[in-house]
């Protein structure tokens, strides 16, 4: 089967790749694009480990076809830190032990970042409902929710 050529932007860089028409964006990221920070936990949109943003909208990359990236802007965990400067959320996750095994962490960070862009002052309930699509089996979510709230407070103070 002939592969499809896709031109897109990933983490602010122009990017091209080849994929099968049936490949998901997650397949393309983890395959030809070698961006394995996005994880596959379910391939059915239920765990959020593959969270990315498409034109600033939070999505599950396992539910998007790779060809749909054509002419759009994709952001992944790999684009979150600026050089050696971590995003405040990344820093706070580290400081507050908001990760254990770390398999959900990329998705959690991408989803939390999308939340804070939309709402810099979320209530605990808003954080919990926003992150309800991101499963974490290790932490019980407590430290994750606290880290997101604290980052939001610090970012607002700046």
């Amino acid at each position: 089967m002939a592969k499809v050529h896709v031109t897109t932007s990933i983490n602010g860089e122009p990017m091209e790749f080849l994929c099968e028409p049936s490949d998901t964006m997650l397949d393309a990221l983890r395959g030809p694009l070698a961006l394995t920070g996005s994880k596959e936990g379910c391939a059915s949109g239920d765990c959020g480990a593959c969270s990315i943003t498409l034109d600033d909208r939070l999505i599950c990359s396992c539910l998007m076809l790779a060809v749909e990236a054509q002419d759009h802007e994709i952001r992944t965990i790999e684009g979150m830190a600026q050089g050696d400067k971590l995003h405040p959320l990344q820093q706070k996750f580290l400081e507050m032990a908001a990760l254990q095994c770390g398999i959900c962490t990329s998705g959690m960070l991408v989803a939390s970042d999308a939340l804070l862009k939309k709402n810099p002052d979320p209530s605990e309930e808003e954080v919990r409902f926003w992150l309800a699509g991101n499963l974490c089996r290790c932490t019980g979510y407590d430290k994750i929710v606290r880290a997101v709230m604290e980052t939001a407070a610090e970012m607002r103070a700046q």
């Binding site: 983890r30 961006l35 394995t36 920070g37 996005s38 994880k39 596959e40 936990g41 379910c42 391939a43 059915s44 239920d46 765990c47 480990a49 992944t76 965990i77 790999e78 979150m80 830190a81 971590l86 990344q90 996750f93 580290l94 400081e95 507050m96 032990a97 990760l99 254990q100 095994c101 770390g102 398999i103 959900c104 962490t105 990329s106 960070l109 605990e124 309930e125 954080v127 919990r128 409902f129 992150l131 309800a132 699509g133 991101n134 499963l135 974490c136 089996r137 290790c138 932490t139 019980g140 979510y141 407590d142 430290k143 994750i144 929710v145 606290r146």
Partner: protein, 753 residues
């Protein structure tokens, strides 16, 4: 032993050494790696719960373009049943070889029948469909009640119980005193029967591996597991490759909770790689994970407790039937051995029965068996306390095990911290807070054995005076952070100068699984001893330079100092200075220690749970939770709390929503995260932790295992809270909305309005 006090790093919330990789997406989990020339492996699985395999024809699959190798049970080393058990840890290779690939019978839907390697995943999947299997479909049973019927279909004809073929694969008992006698003394006796459903460990990372085999048999395994040495040994046993030829490299592991303590894919991928001459990658789908790995047992337990009017338990009897799945080996030891252990009961009989049935072989899940047993025991404890009109925590205090109590499973307790956990729960703000309408509060306690076992460490000083620690246990929940804290503390240097690496099987000495709440306990002992050897070397080197006796040199704040002015007046020699002088002063500085560690103390916890009932939807919502645990010594409090919170979240899922649902055909009907309902962020409140620290006197830093206790009391705490809210007790898990709605009959609803 002198406990380190006055710490700079032990007890600090340092940033874990592997954290940066994990927040940036750089960390390499098993499915993230590729090798040149790599092809893909896929497994053909049985559609039937129980079937004799008459023949397998792989010829069509082999001819499909792109297919490079096909393997079946013929390619796997057989461990004949009649030859007796071949144990590797707690696993019998006779079952393992049949679990990774069905040999004569398929025993559950999802049981591997054959595996294919092809140039793409799609071709491998296509080839699986071309394999022709002639099955003789057999009757089956899944539930315990069906599997123990006299005429139940028997999974393993060779297995006998009471002289007859049976699905009961084993029985175990713990006994103390005389229960008949004990119950005679009781003023109140309560006996109840409980059931729980199988639940999956639910790690977010599916099983995955990437394996290459050179023509001379040298094999490299890159995989996700709770033990690279277990992977090496099991793969060696099942493929016939010597262990010395297999290098098992631990990838970062995306959760395990006991479920990654056995192999599923590695032997198959190794054989496919050997046959094809190409590296083979295999990654399970979520559906495969749910159908064919783990879970833990479903159960049926009967618990009877007798107490006198003044609140003393005089006798107890527990009978725990646990599902083993397709092969013997359910965690009856945890159920029968742990559930009564928090209490000093003079007359006790605790029995466990291991029952095979046609579902996937169970795997360890966090304190295997103990949460199942504790659910039953702690609910009956609640009923007895109520009947005696006693506060449930006072009732526990009155009967609490303490130093000198002999547990039914053998040990006489040293100084333990159980009472402290009950007292801390009782004194917590949580326990004193008022409750609102349709809210209820429940408590429960729990125990887990904890373990020591084999561990190896190597500590090397780099030429620039920093430190590299290598241990042999995969880091699943932050153990590297604890090790860095300890090593830095002992050396008196900044923890950021310590890098902690998980060695592969060919670079570090044997280390047992990450499991049993043993990793930080065991690894910190070998790391401590290695670091102490290094400090000894550093003192000797400084002594040589100063031309004084090594005894006259002390190590403090990262440098050698003369012990006192009369030892001589010398400027301190730092770790860095001594490292730089190493080539001229006796060479590289490093030390390794291998030990079979002992002295792991059991762990105790007491939990308080508040629920609120949504009468319209039947949802029991946990609104406040406090987990109290004796953690010995919290080397990194952040990750200790994380263990407590994570265990609680899993227990809430088990109590309220998680269960395997089966179709009429005996297949799992909810093999995905949509229908197998694990707690999500909006299902839970903040989870409070109270860490009680009663140091383990047999450990240099006082460490006790912490990872498993947190799951043990949860289901009972939730059940007791629901009872407290509704006045109605559930004897079956999960207490899911339809079941709660059922008991919310008209009067209850009216009362709420």
């Amino acid at each position: 032993m002198n406990l380190v006090t006055n710490n700079k790093w032990i007890g600090q919330r340092t940033i874990r050494p592997d954290g940066m990789d994990k927040v940036t997406g750089r960390a390499q989990f098993a499915a993230d790696t590729t090798m040149p020339g790599q092809i893909w492996g896929k497994v053909l699985r049985s559609p039937h719960p129980h079937a004799r395999i008459r023949s397998i024809d792989t010829s069509k699959a082999e001819k499909l373009p792109g297919v490079k190798a096909v393997v079946t049970a013929r390619d796997i080393v057989d461990f004949p049943i009649a030859n007796g058990a071949v144990m590797l840890g707690i696993q019998d290779m006779r079952w393992m070889c049949r679990n990774v690939m069905a040999r004569d019978k398929a025993l559950f839907p999802g049981h591997p029948i054959a595996a294919v390697a092809a140039t793409t995943e799609a071709i491998a999947a296509e080839a699986c469909k071309l394999i022709e299997v002639d099955y003789e479909v057999l009757p089956w049973s899944i539930e315990i009640d069906d599997a123990i019927l006299p005429d139940a279909p028997i999974l393993h004809e060779f297995n006998k119980f009471d002289g007859k073929p049976s699905n009961i694969a084993g029985r175990l008992e713990h006994k103390k005193g005389d229960i008949a006698d004990g119950f005679k003394k009781a003023d109140i006796v309560i006996e109840r029967t409980f059931t729980t459903r199988p639940v999956h460990q639910g790690y977010i990372e599916p099983h995955a591996c990437l394996i290459s085999v050179a023509p001379d048999g040298k094999t490299t395994i890159w995989s996700s597991s709770q033990g690279q040495f277990m992977v090496r040994a099991m793969t060696a046993y099942l493929t016939g490759i010597p262990q010395s030829d297999i290098r098992a490299i631990p990838a970062e592991i995306g959760g395990g909770f006991g479920g990654k303590t056995i192999v599923y894919l590695e032997p198959l991928a190794t054989l496919l790689a050997k046959k094809s001459g190409r590296p083979v990658k295999m990654v399970m789908t979520r559906e495969e994970v749910m159908r064919a790995t783990g879970p833990t047992s479903g159960s049926k337990s009967t618990v009877k407790i007798g107490a006198t009017k003044d609140g003393k338990i005089v006798a107890a009897h527990g009978t725990f039937y646990l599902q083993a799945g397709a092969f013997p080996g359910s965690p009856i030891r945890g159920a029968a051995g742990c559930s009564f252990t928090p209490y000093d009961i003079p007359n006790l009989l605790s029995e466990g029965y291991d029952v095979c049935s046609n579902r996937s072989k169970v795997a360890a899940y966090r304190a295997p068996g103990a949460p199942i047993g504790a659910y039953a025991v702690e609910c009956v404890m609640d009923e007895v306390a109520e009947a005696l009109k006693m506060d449930p925590l006072d009732f526990r205090l009155k009967n609490a095990a303490k130093e000198g109590t002999k547990a039914a499973h053998g040990p006489v307790f040293p100084r333990i911290g159980f009472i402290e956990t009950v007292e801390a729960a009782k004194n917590s703000d949580h326990y004193k807070a008022p409750l609102g309408k349709l809210q209820g509060r429940g408590v429960a306690s729990g125990f887990w054995f904890n373990a020591g076992g084999e561990s190896s460490a190597q500590v090397n000083i780099t030429e620039d005076g920093n430190v590299v620690v290598t241990t042999g246990h995969p880091d699943i929940g932050g153990s590297r952070a604890g090790i860095a804290n300890i090593c830095a503390e002992l050396l008196g240097i900044d923890y950021r100068r310590v890098s902690v690496i998980i060695g592969d099987t060919q670079t570090i000495g044997f280390s047992n699984l990450t499991g049993g709440s043993r990793v930080l306990f065991a690894s910190s002992i070998v790391v401590t001893q290695s670091t102490e050897k290094i400090i000894q070397t550093l003192r000797e080197r400084a002594a040589k330079i100063w031309e004084i006796d090594p005894e006259a040199v002390k190590w403090e704040n990262g440098a050698a100092h003369p012990v006192s002015p009369n030892a001589g007046q010398f400027e301190p020699l730092t770790l860095q200075e001594l490292a730089e002088k190493a080539p001229a002063m006796g060479g590289p500085i490093g030390a390794g220690v291998q030990l079979n560690t002992t002295g792991a103390d059991g762990g105790f916890g007491t939990h308080v749970c508040d629920v609120e009932i949504d009468v319209d939807l039947g949802i029991a919502r946990v609104i406040r939770y406090t987990a109290v645990q004796d953690v010995g010594r919290a080397i990194h409090p952040g990750y200790v709390e994380g263990q407590l919170q994570g265990g609680v979240a899993q227990g809430i899922g088990w109590a309220l929503n998680e269960e395997y649902i089966y179709t009429k055909e005996g297949k799992v009907d909810n093999p995905g995260f949509l229908d197998y309902r694990m707690p999500v962020c909006s299902d839970l409140p903040m989870l409070d932790c109270i860490m009680v620290e009663v140091p383990n006197p047999k450990h240099p830093q006082g460490v006790k295992g912490v990872g498993e206790v947190p799951l043990v009391p949860v289901m009972a705490a939730v059940a007791n809270a629901i009872y407290n809210a509704l006045g109605k007790r559930f004897y079956a898990l999960p207490m899911s909305p339809p079941k709660v709605l059922e008991v919310l009959d008209a009067p209850t609803r009216e009362a709420a309005e």
